[in-house]
């Protein structure tokens, strides 16, 4: 969506229905980001709701900026605040994530193009993701899960392309090391590939 999207213009003029159209379009993305950042559904729902409320409130100040990175930045900042409140650590560690089975498989709606992962592997990856430092986690989520390009990630994170590149690299490297430490989690296709 571009900055001159008519819905955005109408929402900026105070039309709630137009804003709610944008909410419906982006709520999956925003909630998914919050969930991956916070590791808890209730916390992610609160953060996502707060993000839309905050976006509605400050929409008047959005000028010449693309809506999606702006909205994601609001959500990411709220997640960061929440993590800071918890002491810079997500409430869910690897162990609790595995115990709680987070995110709930019943709520999962895999898109056809995304192959279903082995349940244990999926949980392992999600838990490893939650153990990344918040900045690396955000960069990896935006790049590898939400498939944003570097420029848009830089806009969300308000950083340079170089910083984005470095955060993505460090985040992926940590995940790789974690997965290689637990090779039994990996499906056969990846175990074969990872052999020298």
């Amino acid at each position: 969506m571009t900055a001159d999207d008519p819905r955005l213009q109408r929402a900026r003029d105070g039309e709630l229905a137009a804003f709610n159209e944008l909410v419906l379009e982006y709520q999956g993305l925003v909630f998914s980001l919050c969930l991956r950042m916070l590791g808890s559904r209730p916390a992610a729902e609160d953060a996502a709701q707060d993000a839309f409320v905050s976006a509605w409130r400050s929409l008047g100040g959005l000028r010449g900026t693309a809506f999606r990175p702006w909205l994601l930045r609001i959500a990411a900042n709220l997640c960061r605040d929440e993590l800071r409140r918890r002491g810079r650590r997500p409430a869910t560690s690897l162990e609790t994530a595995l115990e709680e089975g987070l995110p709930e498989p019943a709520a999962a709606a895999p898109t056809p193009e995304r192959a279903a992962l082995d349940e244990e592997l999926r949980r392992g990856i999600e838990a490893a993701l939650l153990d990344l430092p918040p900045d690396q986690r955000l960069a990896v989520i935006l790049c590898d899960i939400e498939q944003l390009d570097y420029a848009e990630i830089a806009a969300v994170m308000r950083s340079t392309l170089g910083t984005v590149k470095s955060r993505i690299a460090r985040g992926r490297a940590r995940l790789r090391d974690r997965l290689q430490a637990e090779p039994e989690l990996l499906p056969a296709r990846f175990r074969q590939e990872s052999r020298p």
Binding site: G14, L16, F19, N20, L24, Q27, G28, V30, F31, S32, L35, R41, A44, E45, A48, Q49, V53, W56, R57, S58, L59, G60, I74, N77, D81, P103, A107, A108, A109, P110, T111, R114, A116, L117, L121, R122, I125, L129, V140, I141, C143, D144, I145, Q147, Y150, K165, S166, I168, A169, R172, A173, L175, R176, L179, L186, F190, E193, S194, R195, P196
Partner: protein
């Protein structure tokens, strides 16, 4: 650096990761590819990063259990602050208070001079001059006050004389001038008491004016401080909100 690619140096995760995303220059990408071809360790590191990216990409998109659309009530509760209302009032408040404070201080010094040297030409120095005319000699006001004290209210007059080393001080400081004035005013003997009385009343009014000014200055200073504090708080709150 490039020679390192073909020898012992291993590739950084930053290069390997950037290659996965196609973020290397063509030249750099070729050098990295050549290194990967001959270095099993870097190849393994590269494949590990690729695996991580692929697995993350296969994570299912999670859907929220509820919708986040805003109800009209919620939207009204979170009404946007009209750009022209709250913020400017906040941001201009310290400036307004500052201007008020400066104006009051200026009024204090210009309209009600502390000593004669600063306030010639003002209404109050004129009053002091008048008092001087009424009482011959140096320290006109100081002498006029006891005179008035005999005639009317002793305490009030003494008060005004005390307070007005301020208004009466011009006379004390301007020796030559007051001597001239003394000679000029000497014949006005019988009117002396009445004029001194008038002078005492004026001095009393001046003291009241000054007190009022001081109170207003104090209020303006407090208002300045308070509005600055509120502004700082509002800004930091806004930053937290963002």
């Amino acid at each position: 650096m490039i020679s390192g690619l073909f020898r012992r140096e291993h590739l950084s995760d930053a290069d390997l990761s950037a290659r996965i995303d196609g973020r290397l220059s063509i030249r750099r990408s070729r050098a990295v590819a050549a290194h990967l071809h001959r270095c099993p360790r870097c190849r393994q590191a590269f494949e590990g990063l690729q695996t991580a990216k692929l697995l993350l990409g296969e994570l299912p998109r999670q859907q929220p259990a509820r919708s986040f659309v805003l109800s009209p009530e919620a939207a009204a509760r979170e009404a946007r602050p009209p750009p022209a209302s709250r913020r400017p009032a906040f941001s201009f408040a310290p400036a307004v208070a500052l201007v008020l404070l400066v104006a009051l201080l200026a009024a204090d010094f210009v309209v009600l001079p502390e000593d004669g040297s600063g306030g010639s030409g003002s209404a109050d120095s004129a009053a002091a001059l008048q008092a001087e005319r009424a009482t011959p000699g140096l320290g006109a006001a100081a002498e006029a006050a006891p005179a008035a004290a005999d005639a009317v209210a002793p305490t009030e007059a003494r008060q005004s004389a005390d307070a007005d080393t301020t208004a009466g001080a011009p006379a004390a400081s301007g020796d030559g001038a007051s001597e001239d004035e003394a000679g000029f005013a000497a014949p006005a003997g019988p009117a002396e008491t009445a004029k001194a009385q008038a002078e005492a009343t004026e001095a009393k009014e001046d003291a009241a004016d000054r007190t009022l000014l001081r109170i207003l200055e104090g209020a303006a200073a407090v208002a300045l401080l308070l509005s600055a504090l509120l502004l700082i708080r509002a800004r930091s709150g806004k930053r937290r909100g963002a």
